[in-house]
């Protein structure tokens, strides 16, 4: 195993993912296999190779800083699990 349980738990925490007990062992096993698999990249000779930024070498396009969309907050919030007064509600953050 290239990854141990503690590493996998750390990654899950970074990714904000809870894993059920019965999926944890399988995740350790499969993630280890994936990491072992992509490790073969280390053998590639890449000295002086510029990492790809865009497949067509295109530059980031900019636009003028102008409002282009109307305010559809109420419509957008129809998808939210919990709202109040136009705000998104979450568990209390500040005691």
């Amino acid at each position: 195993m290239s990854l141990d349980k503690d590493q996998v738990q750390h990654i899950a925490t970074l990714a904000r993912l809870s894993l059920a007990d019965d999926e944890f062992a399988e995740t350790v096993d499969k993630l280890s296999r994936i990491v072992d698999f992509v490790d073969q990249l280390s053998q590639a000779a890449t000295a002086d190779v510029v990492p790809m930024a865009h497949p067509l070498d295109a530059a980031q396009r900019l636009r003028s800083d102008q409002v282009t969309e109307p305010n559809i907050r109420d419509h957008v919030q129809e998808n939210a699990p919990s709202t109040g007064n136009g705000l998104y509600l979450v568990p209390k953050v500040i005691e």
């Binding site: 990654i11 809870s18 990249l41 067509l56 699990p81 209390k92």
Partner: protein
């Protein structure tokens, strides 16, 4: 009407509508009846939009009688459930978005609707397009019409099955590592992935933004050309969409293959390829040669590294893109969270399936402190080498031809235990995504009763070349007309 409507291609249907042989409403009713009869057997659809389709078909008939009909007026199609549609569910095959209704239409959806297309429904897919067998969908696997025990491929499994079973003549899809071309090959349909930036990604739920591209699955290349002409073109709402002229793809289908330089990659025919699939593809190459194409061997020395490169780049981008699903603004939310951290972790843990979680975690790992250079930076360097290999090859050839997938359709459940075995399904298709190249798969044979595909990759903006090459091949062969027995 001499032939049943479901057997006709988009191009044939357009001509029939134009001649008044049948109405758009009759056409929509016929196909909705097929979907009703076969949709559940295949589990191809997440949502069928019968009422909306009939209303749109009625409008299309009215517009036609008044004159001024769009190029796709009254023609039916389906969307992969990754494209946002206003007022209709967009699930992306995930529990996370089980109840999500987008406030806007994707550009692809909008453009096709403006051209008069009638949308029959939205199709099942691997969750967030992460999979090669349609088995990661929250809504269950799709079955292959050629053999119901087999996978139709993925991630565009639902639309590939629907087109193959003649439930719709055409469908939109997305391709990040082969998700249009591999299912097209496994279901005996035509699948086109355009050049990166050719079609707007606006409203297309993001998986890996530097690789994702919208395309189509159809029953022939002429239909793919027709649809691409409507979908392609600049869109200021997608910052990676490139402002490049859109040619008339349909008129590009008249070119002769005489003198066309077709590159063959030796490694494509190594031991990883099923022998009978290899024979079918070599037969297809001989057909191209008989049409005047010149076959030349080309070398893609870093091809072996394309799958591991992809499985660093794509998960890295997915871990970033999918961070938006936080249980706060939209999507699944866990019950009774203890605090905000618990809300995030359990909403995501419950809303995402196992494969999506693995990819997010792989991406999180390769981007994390201390590993970034060894994995992500390294992968983007190797990606450059792979793109350079293609660049050099296209100095000598016009198109690269080979198999689309290493085997015909495999049994459902056969590859779910080992992620690597599943990932290697895309070994021939992933290179085009890494380099941003257009590719098409067209049917080139049956192996033990299951379809296999010929894969053609062109240089950047070479859609006309691959479409014409596939179209000319289809004029010489009838594999693309083969229909699974139970769906005649």
């Amino acid at each position: 009407m001499s032939q049943a409507l479901h057997t006709l291609t988009l191009t044939q249907l357009a001509a029939g509508l134009e001649r008044g042989e049948f109405s758009s409403v009759e056409l929509a009713e016929a196909l909705l009846g097929r979907i009703e009869a076969h949709g559940q057997t295949l589990n191809a659809f997440v949502t069928v939009t019968a009422e909306r389709a009939l209303a749109a078909a009625k409008r299309a008939d009215d517009v036609r009688s008044e004159g001024g009909a769009g190029v796709l007026n009254g023609l039916p199609l389906v969307h992969k459930d990754i494209f946002c549609t206003r007022d209709v569910l967009t699930t992306c095959g995930s529990r996370m978005l089980e109840n999500f209704v987008s406030p806007y239409d994707a550009t692809v959806v909008e453009r096709l609707a403006d051209a008069g297309a009638v949308v029959l429904g939205k199709t099942n897919m691997d969750e967030f397009a992460m999979g090669s067998s349609n088995e990661t969908s929250y809504f269950g696997p799709v079955r292959n019409p050629w053999n119901l025990d087999c996978s139709p491929g993925g991630s565009s499994g639902g639309l590939a099955a629907a087109v193959a079973a003649r439930l719709t003549p055409a469908a939109t899809g997305t391709d990040t590592g082969g998700s249009i071309r591999q299912p097209a090959a496994l279901t005996g349909t035509v699948g086109l992935k355009p050049t990166y930036g050719r079609v707007s990604r606006y409203g297309m739920i993001a998986f890996a933004s530097s690789l994702d591209q919208a395309g189509v699955i159809t029953r022939c290349s002429a239909d793919a050309a027709l649809l691409l002409g409507v979908m392609a073109g600049f869109d200021e709402r997608d910052s990676t969409c490139i402002d490049h002229p859109v040619p008339d793809y349909v008129s590009a289908l008249s070119g002769s293959l005489k003198g066309l330089r077709v590159g063959i990659v030796r490694q494509h025919f190594d031991e990883g390829l099923d022998a009978q699939t290899g024979v079918a593809v070599k037969d297809a190459l001989a057909v191209l040669e008989s049409q005047g194409a010149i076959l030349t061997e080309v070398d893609l020395p870093n091809l072996d590294l394309s799958v591991p490169t992809y499985y660093v780049v794509a998960p890295a981008e997915c871990s970033s893109n999918l961070s938006r699903f936080d249980g706060v603004r939209f999507g699944h939310r866990a019950e009774n969270p203890e605090d905000l951290f618990d809300l995030y972790c359990r909403s995501r843990g419950e809303g995402f399936g196992a494969e999506v979680k693995r990819r997010i975690m792989t991406g999180t790992y390769v981007l994390s402190a201390g590993y970034y250079d060894a994995y992500y930076l390294k992968a983007q360097q190797v990606r450059q080498l792979i793109a350079d290999d293609f660049r050099k090859a296209f100095a000598d050839v016009d198109v690269i031809a080979g198999p689309t997938a290493p085997t015909p359709a495999f049994k459902l459940g056969d590859k779910t235990d080992d992620p690597i075995t599943m990932y290697l399904n895309d070994i021939y298709t992933i290179g085009a995504n890494l380099a941003g190249l257009p590719g098409i798969s067209t049917p080139c044979g049956l192996v033990d009763g299951l379809p296999v595909g010929l894969h053609l990759v062109g240089p950047h903006w070479g859609e006309e070349i691959v479409l014409n090459c596939a179209h000319q091949y289809e004029q010489q062969t009838d594999w693309h007309q083969a229909c699974p027995g139970d769906f005649q």
